[in-house]
């Protein structure tokens, strides 16, 4: 399951371990009754979130992504604000911590430099529906309760727990960090008919965050998923947050 990736992109940066996620299907939070599950093709996902140390190596090689140098269109004013300097990511122990306060553009550029990409929301959600023991724990009440407790205890700027949880695929810490960027965070999340009256997507998207409209969700009790979708909907491409990091994915599973 666990394989070290050698990306054939002529890049010198050592790729951290990736985990192969086999093809399958899952039911997104927002899917109409009777709608088939969403198919997810096999892909590879970083075992761990990207760390400060890894991101430091990236900005060392690519000056355009350093704090103070990054174009304002690509990141807001708090980009990497928890770093002591443009090329200082903090003390040794901080280097192993997840990088946060990175924008979508910066996360995308980082993954691209590794010959990878950001995972899609479908890929991320599919991988994240695995508990420690079951790949599809989406209907596992115990797992749900565990995530709720975990989400409630997380603090944006707190260090990652010493032992991030490993799920049944072998991916670590998917629910520990806070939030993670996805490639299509700005996708319209309800894949049903767009020809509805009014302003279509706008009108439906609005319902996603209203408790009374939770009936539109495939599982209204999946509060952790509600939170993730709501957070994504509140992001812009240049947003940086204390509790928002990322990991990379790859389509090629070799």
């Amino acid at each position: 399951m666990l394989l070290t990736f050698a990306i054939v992109a002529g890049l010198a940066i050592a790729s951290p371990a990736m985990v192969r996620i086999p093809a399958g299907s899952y039911r997104p939070l927002y899917s109409a009754a009777g709608e088939p599950k969403v198919r997810v093709a096999a892909f590879a996902l970083d075992r761990d979130v990207v760390t400060r140390g890894e991101f430091l190596r990236f900005v060392t090689r690519q000056p355009a992504w350093r704090r103070g140098a990054v174009r304002a269109v690509f990141a807001d004013a708090s980009y990497l604000r928890d770093w002591p300097g443009a090329l200082e990511a903090g003390p040794r122990e901080a280097l192993a911590q997840p990088v946060r306060n990175v924008s979508w553009f910066a996360a995308k550029a980082y993954c691209s430099a590794q010959g990878k990409r950001l995972p899609t929301a479908d890929e991320w959600e599919y991988a994240a529906s695995a508990s420690a023991t079951r790949r599809d724990a989406s209907r596992d009440a115990g797992f749900r309760a565990h995530l709720l407790a975990l989400y409630a205890s997380r603090h944006a700027a707190a260090p990652l727990p010493r032992r991030a949880e490993t799920n049944a695929y072998g991916v670590r810490g998917l629910h520990d960090l806070g939030w993670e960027w996805t490639l299509d965070f700005n996708s319209v999340v309800v894949p049903d008919d767009s020809r509805a009256a009014g302003s279509g997507a706008d009108a439906r998207d609005r319902h996603l965050y209203c408790a009374s409209a939770a009936i539109g969700a495939s599982d209204p009790t999946d509060y952790p998923a509600f939170m993730r979708y709501a957070v994504r909907a509140g992001l812009t491409a240049r947003t940086t947050l204390d509790g928002l990091g990322f990991r990379c994915a790859a389509t090629q599973v070799t």
């Binding site: 269109v73 049903d192 209203c210 909907a233 204390d242």
Partner: protein
């Protein structure tokens, strides 16, 4: 929401974020659709044109976003097969075109670059009587499209080969490409007023 930095939706804390989101999305209110992008009254600190991507226009010419500098422009993301919301947006843009004496640049960016070739865009422009002098229709790569849509806070997703769900957002840019105002749904008088201010 902090406006001083010019970020469209800058948020620091999650709780705050969710609260703002609920407010911005009009949770709990029924009836008319609520704009998902709150109106922005201050200039963004950055230029959308700094994305640096290169597109092709309805004449088939390569166009950098930077080539749009020089006059205020109103940007909408559409696709030519769109038969529901897009014609309304076009009608709105044409009304604004007329109300600004043709001095405002109008930019249509396709959300369906695979289908909307420069040739099709030219045809679309002709059908809708859009002069090349004022109207710029752009098509590009999926990646560049995703970057631009994400920057303009336009959300979209393909729902069938012929259909895309997308937010109906008009963005008013100043001559440098900074966001002056964004509006979901049809433009109200405020957008026109600001466009006029920019053209003054």
């Amino acid at each position: 929401m902090r406006r001083d930095t010019g970020d469209l939706t800058m948020r620091r804390s999650l709780g705050h974020s969710l609260l703002l989101l609920a407010v911005a999305l009009g949770c709990g209110r029924g009836g008319a659709p609520t704009p998902e992008v709150p109106a922005v009254r201050t200039l963004s600190s950055y230029s959308v044109y700094d994305l640096g991507s290169t597109w092709r226009d309805q004449g088939g010419a390569q166009r950098t976003l930077a080539s749009l500098r020089g006059k205020p422009r109103l940007v909408a993301m559409i696709y030519t097969k769109c038969t529901s919301v897009c014609p309304l947006s076009i009608g709105e843009l044409k009304r604004i075109e007329a109300a600004t004496d043709g001095r405002l640049g109008l930019v249509l960016v396709t959300l369906d670059p695979e289908h909307d070739t420069p040739t099709l865009l030219a045809q679309y422009a002709k059908e809708h009587d859009m002069s090349a002098e004022r109207w710029t229709l752009l098509t590009g790569t999926d990646d560049d499209l995703r970057d631009l849509a994400a920057t303009l806070a336009v959300r979209y997703r393909r729902v069938s080969p012929d259909d895309l769900a997308h937010s109906n957002t008009l963005t008013l840019l100043d001559a440098e490409g900074r966001v002056v105002r964004q509006q979901a749904g049809l433009a109200d008088g405020a957008l026109l007023a600001e466009a006029r201010t920019l053209l003054r």
